[in-house]
């Protein structure tokens, strides 16, 4: 394992000088070691014992004794190859027969910092593959119960005054594999069907002032331009509150997986409602009963009735450090360590996050840090003195609408275990005495 800690020498893709034969073999050794290690997790790099000289300090390293690569090698920059394991992941469980046209890829939350998800790591859910739309040929039509039905090109949409807002998007199936029992031992697969981005676009209200929506219109149909013509019905009340159509994320055009060139953004609501590849908005006085608000995206209760039009992602939180991927196995008793995590609510703004070490019996309040914004990821932090003891570590968020995350049992009592969507009960990480972290639940 020690080999992996050591950065490889003279990787030809990074450094412009020629590799020697000896370097080649050293590199090969590193590669084969990583192939073995790839299936497991690696402890953080450790220094040699007190008083022993570190070879990476004592010896000049190749990156300090050679020319680096030319700065224009990547006109569009890419992460360091050392970060190649920080990627979205998929599983056949969350697909049809392993088919990756109608499936979901999950964000590696364990490796993210702050509240912004890099565009290439944004979770993705599609129903008929990722549509590749020609920007120049894309049109948005707004019609139905309006004074003036219009069509817009992308360039015209971008002429409207723009706004930028930070909001999370979450698939209502986030954590759906865990209703009955914990199934994954991974933060990425327990909570990775969500991401948070700075979106730029135009408030729908701004466009609608010109179009003139009939005051009797109650509903808006949003339809996508992909193969499945993904569509949903949205109440006009939400449209007039904070709905946007967005064409940029984190400063650049939407990624195709996120609906290039334009998608609907309904802050705080099911990501499925934020229709991608948006081509049509129709206003009416009756709901449409789209496929994805009837046969799917409805929450079956133990009574046999199902909740339809279940819009907001409710208050939620997860500890991101430690987590199964980032355990505490390298800590010694007495070490000071930061417990960190994410909290979010589609119904408002996070006001409190509490931490429990004993599976929810007793709680202490964590600190919120960084930006605290409505319907956005909010970071929390708690500084902890590691004791090398077994823990049942939990976080529990509260929002300004007054909602607090329920326990698994509280949620289960009302929602049952077959509802698929909108699971937001408290998550437990079981921290073993040796610092390993495993996914768990407190439930009966």
């Amino acid at each position: 394992m020690k080999k992996i800690d050591k950065p490889s020498t003279n990787d030809s893709s990074l450094v412009s000088n020629k590799s020697s034969r000896r370097d080649f073999f050293r590199k090969a050794a590193v590669y084969s070691a990583s192939a073995v290690a790839a299936s497991s997790l690696l402890s953080p790099v450790k220094l040699l014992a007190e008083g022993k000289d570190d070879e990476f300090i004592m010896e000049e390293q190749p990156w300090a004794t050679s020319l680096g690569y030319e700065l224009n090698k990547n006109p569009y920059g890419v992460p360091s190859p050392y970060e190649h394991n920080v990627v979205r992941r998929t599983t056949p469980l969350l697909s049809s027969a392993g088919d990756m046209h109608a499936a979901v890829s999950l964000t590696p939350l364990q490796d993210l910092k702050g509240i912004i998800t890099p565009n290439g790591l944004f979770f993705t859910r599609t129903h008929n593959g990722v549509a590749r739309i020609d920007y120049n040929k894309h049109r948005l039509m707004i019609h139905g119960m309006v004074k003036k039905p219009i069509v817009l090109t992308m360039d015209e949409i971008k002429r409207y005054p723009s706004e930028s807002v930070i909001h999370f998007l979450e698939c209502p199936s986030n954590g759906a594999a865990e209703w009955k029992t914990p199934q994954f031992d991974s933060l990425q697969f327990v909570k990775g069907m969500m991401s948070c981005t700075e979106w730029t676009g135009v408030r729908l209200k701004t466009i609608l002032e010109d179009v003139g929506v009939d005051p009797k219109a109650l509903w808006m149909l949003a339809e996508g331009g992909d193969g499945s013509s993904m569509s949903r019905t949205v109440p006009v009340e939400k449209v007039m509150d904070d709905a946007m159509i967005v064409y940029a994320m984190n400063g650049e055009a939407l990624r195709e997986e996120q609906g290039y060139p334009v998608r609907l953004l309904l802050p705080g609501w099911e990501a499925n409602l934020c229709v991608k590849w948006l081509k049509r908005l129709e206003f009416g006085d009756k709901p449409w009963y789209c496929k994805e608000e009837t046969s799917k995206y409805t929450t079956l209760l133990p009574t046999g009735k199902a909740i339809q039009h279940f819009y907001p992602l409710e208050v939620n939180s997860i500890i991101t450090s430690p987590c199964p991927e980032k355990p505490w196995t390298d800590l010694k008793k007495g070490d000071i360590v930061e417990i960190e995590g994410l909290a979010w609510s589609g119904k408002g703004t996070i006001t409190h996050v509490d931490i429990s070490f004993d599976g929810g019996k007793n709680w202490v309040e964590a600190k919120l840090k960084g930006l605290v914004l409505p319907k956005a990821w909010t970071r929390f932090s708690y500084i902890y003195k590691y004791e090398g003891k077994e823990l049942m570590l939990e976080s529990r968020a509260t929002d300004d609408s007054g909602d607090t995350q329920p326990t698994v049992n509280q949620e289960k009592k009302i929602m049952g275990v077959e509802g698929v969507y909108h699971r937001n009960s408290i998550n437990t990480w079981y921290v073993k005495a040796n610092g390993e972290v495993h996914n768990a639940q407190m439930r009966s």
Partner: protein, 363 residues
């Protein structure tokens, strides 16, 4: 719900001093349609954001949609029959079409089993099934037991199916497939069972009675539809929003630690947190590969669909024994569930490349 927060009690180290909620929350009000907060937009300030509040007249971009454009795109179908297109088809015609174009994913009679949605079978009583310990029967969510509206079926099949070639069915074909699916689900038309000769058309479509039409809450129909949703979502008891911010000696009756057992590892790429250099691999795209992935992999990518699956040495040896020219001719013509050229418009030359690529991955 405000009282929830004020219920907060003392914590071991210090008693929490609770600031009023609005101080945290940008003067929000709990009056959103989803039961959550709305925040004022005033004087160029919206929560933590500034915005441009210059007074401007309504901005007018784009142009009026033409009647033909509206007709071309306004193809949705509503439960009350709005948008129902002219057309007709029989259950028998639908049976043939289903077998040709749908069964490959949805199974014979739509009975599932291939990893794609199951369309038929089960009964409404199963919807109360809960797979709690010791109980293994799942609720069955099919057209007959779950879907509330027949209009959804017709609209969705036309717009989104067949999966690999959406929008390729005529309205007559769509009516026929819909009729077949209703019949296999034992759904009645105008109070009568449907048989092979039953014709479904825009004339009688509204006479379909969906068994689980009343299975959904809240009621979203009528002028109070949105109000009903708002009232429903605003009551935490309806949606499991019943958490309490207890801080000390909190009770959770019967709750025990359940740690993940035999966690799933079938993920791609495999779990890894190592900071090392990636293994060198051949990233070059082979001729035919891109087209294979786009148009052929849906059926040939796994062994469930009955098509020779890529990677299956035996299956492909058998295929290629006929010689590339014969295989190409079959691909051009289509065979069994495979439409001509796999539903694509690739040239003969491109098809040959694709076949050779598929074979190369199956040696």
């Amino acid at each position: 719900m405000l009282k929830c927060v004020h219920k907060t009690i003392s914590v071991g180290v210090a008693t929490l001093v609770l600031t009023s909620i609005s101080a945290f929350a940008f003067d929000g009000k709990k009056d959103a349609v989803d039961g959550g907060m709305t925040y004022p937009r005033k004087d160029g300030v919206y929560t933590a954001y500034r915005y441009n509040d210059q007074k401007v007249p309504p901005i007018s971009f784009g142009r009026k949609a033409t009647p033909n454009e509206l007709k071309a795109w306004n193809t949705d179908i509503m439960p009350d029959g709005t948008g129902l297109p002219k057309g007709k088809g029989t259950v028998g015609e639908g049976d043939e079409l289903f077998e040709e174009q749908c069964a490959v994913c949805h199974g014979d009679f739509g009975a599932g089993g291939l990893g794609y949605p199951t369309l038929t079978g089960g009964d409404i009583a199963s919807l109360t099934n809960q797979r709690t310990p010791g109980k293994t029967d799942a609720p069955k969510r099919t057209i007959g037991t779950y879907w509330p509206k027949a209009s959804t079926l017709l609209w969705y099949i036309h717009d989104a199916m067949p999966y690999a070639h959406p929008k390729s069915l005529t309205w007559d074909e769509t009516y026929a497939i819909t009729a077949y699916l209703l019949a296999t689900n034992e759904i009645q038309l105008d109070g009568k069972d449907m048989d092979d000769d039953t014709v479904l058309s825009n004339e009688n479509f509204l006479k379909i009675k969906m068994p689980n039409e009343k299975g959904f809450i809240p009621n979203i129909d009528g002028p109070n539809g949105v109000k009903n949703v708002k009232a429903f979502l605003s009551d935490g008891k309806n949606i499991g929003a019943v958490g309490v911010r207890c801080m000390k000696d909190c009770k959770d009756d019967g709750a025990k630690l359940v740690v993940v057992k035999d966690p799933r590892t079938d993920v791609t790429p495999p779990f890894a947190e190592v900071k090392d250099l990636p293994k060198k691999k051949d990233n070059s795209v082979k001729p035919g590969q891109e087209e294979y992935e786009k148009s052929c992999a849906v059926c040939h990518g796994n062994d469930k669909m009955g098509a020779p699956d890529v990677g299956n040495k035996e299956a492909w040896a058998k295929v290629m024994k006929k010689g590339i020219d014969k295989v190409l001719a079959t691909a051009i013509k289509g065979t069994g569930a495979m439409p001509p050229r796999g539903g694509s418009s690739y040239s003969d030359e491109k098809l040959k490349q694709i076949i050779e690529y598929m074979y190369s991955k199956s040696k």
